[in-house]
């Protein structure tokens, strides 16, 4: 194992099911992460604070106390930009800048030193935010989220800015969901339970797993195989996933601000069902990445109809896998 400085963390996004159901408090969430040795906490303020964007001083103080108490540290702030806030028109450039600057200031107050810039952010807003990012010490990284890939023309606009501006404060936040090699079976099974035709679901999964270059034809194909609305909905869902080879990330590692370690289903502590983390982590180590791998669990919505979701357990599985892949011998123990 090469020497590296990659750290483990968790996005609170992972616990959305239990938080929604009021079964897990913010305190609980941070505590369980600390217990897993995941010391970096990523937050979606619009999820964790109902008072957003007007957090009280007490709330901000409480947030910092929480980290002091558990020995954790805030990592990324996940921002959104409500371009369609008004029904009759999209946000102007000025409103966009105002929105991201609001987030940068709040990130600073929350002690977050990086920000996940959501993929629909206008590139010119991203660029205009650079001076504020520097002033408030918040590194901005546009999220590269499936079905985007590094070489997609939409992403290329951001990479061009990152290369041109050449600031420590502008970069990328790759979401490991761009490396979904095997279609998540929890998603396929949920669609079957919701009434999609099992043979059509299986066919679409098989097509996905071959990674053809004509995914845009899947909807028609399922319709011709006798599919109805639910099957077509599955096809539309499938084209939201994608796979590119982990090595395609290599040239971009120097620009990575933060990483979403997306996952849908852990197979014990061993592996994620869909995403080849054992191939991803070496690319990050080789590239000298020194930020966080932040667990982002997104399986809850696919299993909540058949069993209680245990997001904490799922995250724990992923954290043990990551610890092993990162060479943290003591944490992984004899798990292999």
């Amino acid at each position: 194992m090469a020497v590296h400085d990659i750290k483990r963390g968790v996005s609170l996004y992972s616990f959305q099911e239990e938080v929604f159901l009021r079964k897990l408090t913010l305190d609980d969430a941070v505590r369980v992460c600390a217990e897993m040795g995941a010391r970096g906490i990523e937050v979606i303020p619009e999820q964790s604070f109902d008072s957003f964007p007007n957090l009280t001083d007490a709330e901000i103080g409480g947030w910092h106390e929480l980290h002091a108490k558990y020995g954790t540290t805030p990592t990324a702030y996940d921002m959104f930009i409500d371009l369609k806030r008004r029904k009759d028109r999209v946000m102007t450039f000025e409103e966009g800048v105002e929105s991201i600057v609001r987030d940068i200031k709040l990130a600073n107050k929350l002690g977050c030193t990086s920000m996940r810039v959501i993929v629909n952010t206008p590139p010119e807003v991203f660029e205009a935010a650079a001076p504020y990012a520097e002033e408030y010490n918040v590194r901005l990284g546009v999220e590269i989220h499936a079905p985007m890939r590094f070489d997609h023309r939409w992403i290329q606009q951001f990479l061009d800015i990152v290369h041109r501006v050449d600031s420590h404060y502008l970069g990328i936040v790759p979401d490991m969901g761009i490396f979904v090699r095997e279609f998540p079976r929890v998603v396929a099974e949920r669609f079957k339970r919701d009434g999609a035709r099992p043979d059509l679901v299986d066919h679409a999964v098989k097509v996905y797993n071959d990674h053809p270059d004509d995914m845009e034809t899947l909807t028609r194909e399922l319709a011709w195989r006798g599919g109805t609305a639910i099957d077509v909905a599955f096809a539309n869902n499938v084209v939201g996933y994608n796979y590119v080879a982990p090595e395609t990330m290599a040239p971009h590692v120097p620009y990575i601000v933060h990483i979403h370690a997306k996952f849908y289903e852990m197979v014990g502590d061993e592996r994620e069902y869909s995403i080849p983390y054992d191939e991803i982590v070496p690319v990050l180590i080789a590239g000298g990445y020194d930020g966080y791998l932040s667990s982002e669990y997104e399986g809850n919505r696919h299993i909540q109809d058949v069993r209680p979701v245990d997001s904490v357990q799922e995250v724990a599985h992923q954290q043990r896998m990551l610890a092993r892949l990162l060479g943290e011998e003591t944490t992984t123990g004899g798990s292999r």
Binding site: F20, Q47, K84, R85, D305
Partner: protein
């Protein structure tokens, strides 16, 4: 992603004011992994298969009492991820005792999606 949890069963009740039933109410949650400004939300209700006239629905949140038709202009209030809003339906006499099929639909104008995200749930509930 939270369709099944959108209606809070135990909040379904007729509403009395000064000893008179003026309507009924039900608590609702937002079907998204974060809160959202009210201007981006459209809602509808149906009872026992019949749509509730939008003009008789009010959304109660943070002490405010919005008409459904108003909320598209509300840029300074948000439905938080953890919050229950009360949907109050102005209907003198309220609903008859017993069970009713309550259908609820949310259309969320999420900026990174091409089209609004629609969440639906229909539940058979007994008046509390």
């Amino acid at each position: 992603m939270f369709d099944r949890y959108l209606l809070e069963d135990d909040t379904f009740a007729n509403v009395e004011v000064d000893g008179e039933v003026v309507g009924w109410k039900i608590g609702a949650r937002i079907g998204y992994y974060r809160g959202l400004g009210l201007s981006m939300i459209e809602l509808s209700l149906a009872v026992d298969g019949s749509p509730v006239p939008p003009e008789s629905i009010r959304l109660q949140l943070h002490g405010a009492d919005y008409r459904l038709s108003e909320i598209e202009d509300v840029l300074d209030d948000r439905w938080g991820f953890s919050e229950t809003v009360i949907l109050f339906v102005d209907q003198p006499g309220g609903l008859a005792p017993g069970e009713h099929e309550i259908a609820f639909e949310q259309s969320l104008r999420i900026s990174y999606l091409a089209v609004p995200s629609v969440n639906r749930v229909s539940r058979r509930l007994a008046l509390a």
